[in-house]
Amino acid sequence: MSILVDEKSRVMVQGLTGREGSFHARQCREYGTRIVAGVTPGRGGQTHEEVPVFNTVRQAVDSEGADVSLIFVPPAGAADAILEASDAGIGVVVCVTEGIPVADMIRVMPAVARGGTRLIGPNCPGIISPGKCKIGIMPGYIHKQGPVGVVSRSGTLTYEAVAQLTRRGIGQSTCIGIGGDPLIGTNFLDALRLFRDDPDTRAVVMIGEIGGSAEEDAARTIAREMKVPMVAFIAGQTAPPGKRMGHAGAIISGGKGTAGEKMAALKEAGVHVVESPAAIGDQVQKLIG
């Protein structure tokens, strides 16, 4: 099994006709994802990348039965795009866009929660259920279907971890990039609970980084609720305080959000925390290999 998305997911791309949207929609389809519609206001009625384009999300849902949205809309309009998808009843919204103003997300989050939409991101690589569908910008070929759930705040570091697993013959149930922004729709705890309820996920890899307290918050629940073994790596052990390390959310402020605190909290919760990013695959192999 997998979580949130699978071979039946009907995916719409908001911002399909842009450069990023076109390229990645094609890559997703080549992986086997059912890309059923695109939305670009003013381009309704056209066909782009062999996909019908609509002016509004509602039309795409009514006409093509889209139930997942993948968003590539530029930052200034991305919050609006998320709300439009939620308003049209889309169940899973994946927002890749980086650089959405925090104030926009503060207003979007309660509205999305009210609508019952599961938002992944923003500023994330997306979600993939290997062998079934890929909804995002990650390279499909490094993945392999199997029993390990992967949840991460990072993009390329997730690819690194996945590649380590696949190289050892260990496949993944679903890999979710939850995003590097300070406010995100799906946090570690949400993702971990989805993996907890998936009978085919037999281990979970969690990749955190400095900033905020999402790792610590998850740790409090892990000991109680997670029955499968977990491996974690926290990036930024050598990051200086007060500096934003690329991701808007990756900053140690006021002495809070250090890698050390997060690693300690996760260890306390019984998670196998590795110090080296090169040791993720080996650690998983030890536990379930």
Binding site: Q27, P75, A76, G99, I100, P101, V102, A103, D104, I106, R107, M109, P110, I137, M138, P139, Y141, I142, S152, R153, S154, G155, T156, L157, Y159, E160, A163, G180, P182, L183, I207, E209, I210, G212, S213, A214, D217, F233, A235, G236, Q237, T238, A239, P240, G242, K243, R244, M245, G246, H247, A248, G249, A250, G254, G255, A259, E275, S276, P277, A278
Partner: protein, 387 residues
């Protein structure tokens, strides 16, 4: 993005918050002129983007115009070292000259994002003038918090609750309520990431005045605040970091000797961690982003190697969809163009990786092609140690 104290005070004043009378000065002469307008006696405050200025000698009282000029002369051009500047300190280029006040009490108020709550919060504390992080560590209960609900905004009852808990009385409660609501409005309307008044003073006359102020802004929202973006002071930033951001690169200078060029922030941090675990020390954080172009790679090399401490460079690119052979040609061109003297270890992953490795090996340059992240870190640390 950070701004100076005097700029933050100008913004707060525009939202109706009282600040001391005064003005910024770029020279002793200008400082004297401001002091004269204030009647002679004044405070001279060095303007740098770092806290702890008082302890470092950057805040002094002048008895008259001559002393104000003398103090400005001492401060402008001096390198101010505080616990927030690091050992290299910051050069002072401007000073703020302000009236002195009769202070009865000092309070702390601030607004920032609470990530766990998913909304901003007002923070207040009866102990003003101290570093709030320090108070939070020592006595977390001393910090009062009121969340700002995005649907209804900050409500007057919340602010009254704060004012009474701070022990304010009579008209002070009304003034504080007005001030804190204005502070929350300033936070919201400017897309700030932090607004802080520390201390907010209650004068002997019963007025509430922002004696010090700090504001920083959400970089992602600057596109809709051109007037705030103009307040950016590149003198306060590392020149290499300024150069990097002009090329849409994320660069942060550190004090080690292994230069790193990585795509993706998480992988860049993880690469730094791995270098440290192998006994080395990273010279920088550098994220070239997901879709790095040849121009960006060239710019990245220029910035990396402009740091004289760099003894070896590690390139760690997990391209994924990116074609590694194209990237490898970009790297080779960049190294030729920039004339990189130090050894380079490259670890590339992605589509057409074998072809990419061949391009690097055949370039006849000072390259080592590594097999995986760990191998790359081991090699580059050894090379940095040898040289």
């Amino acid at each position: 993005m950070k701004i100076h104290e005097y700029q933050a005070k100008q913004i707060l004043r525009s939202f109706g918050i009282a600040v001391p009378r005064g003005d910024v000065a770029f020279s002793p002469k200008e400082a004297g002129a401001v002091a004269r307008r204030l009647g002679g006696r004044c405070i001279v405050k060095a303007q740098i983007h770092a806290g702890g200025r008082g302890k470092g000698g950057g805040v002094k009282i002048a008895a008259d115009v001559t002393e104000a000029e003398d103090l400005a002369r001492q401060m402008i051009g001096m390198t101010l070292i505080t616990h927030q500047t690091g050992p290299q300190g910051r050069k002072v280029r401007r000073v703020l000259i302000e009236e002195t006040l009769d202070i009865a009490r000092e309070i702390y108020v601030g607004v920032t994002l609470d990530r766990a709550r998913g909304m901003p919060v007002v923070m207040a504390c009866g102990q003003g003038g101290m570093e709030i992080e320090e108070v939070a560590r020592r006595d977390p209960k001393a910090i009062l918090i009121e969340p700002i609900d995005p649907l209804v905004g900050l409500r007057p009852y919340q602010v009254r609750r704060l004012a009474f808990a701070l022990g304010l009385e009579g008209d002070e409660v009304k003034s504080a309520t007005k001030l804190i609501l204005a502070l929350a409005k300033a936070y919201e309307e400017t897309d700030a990431s932090l607004v802080e008044i520390n201390p907010l003073v209650v004068t002997r006359q019963g007025d509430l005045v922002a004696l010090d102020a700090k504001m920083s802004f959400d970089d992602s929202a600057l596109f809709r605040h051109p007037n705030i973006r103009e307040l950016r002071d590149p003198d306060e930033e590392d020149p290499l970091e300024v150069e990097a951001s002009a090329n849409a690169l994320n660069y942060i200078k550190l004090d080690g000797n292994v230069g790193c060029m990585v795509n993706g922030a998480g992988l860049a941090m993880a690469t730094m961690d791995l270098i440290k675990l192998q006994g080395g020390s990273p010279a920088n954080f550098l994220d070239v982003g997901g879709g790095a172009t040849a121009e960006q790679v060239t710019a990245a090399f220029k910035i990396l190697t402009a740091d004289p401490n760099v003894k070896a460079v590690l390139i760690n690119i997990f391209g994924g969809i990116l074609r590694v052979d194209v990237l490898a040609r970009g790297v080779v061109d960049a190294v030729r163009q920039v004339d990189v003297k130090v050894p380079i270890v490259a670890r590339l992953e992605g589509t057409n990786v074998e072809e990419g490795k061949r391009v690097l090996s055949d370039a006849g340059l000072n390259f080592q092609v590594a097999d995986g992240m760990l191998d790359a870190a081991k090699r580059v640390v050894a090379l940095a140690r040898e040289s």
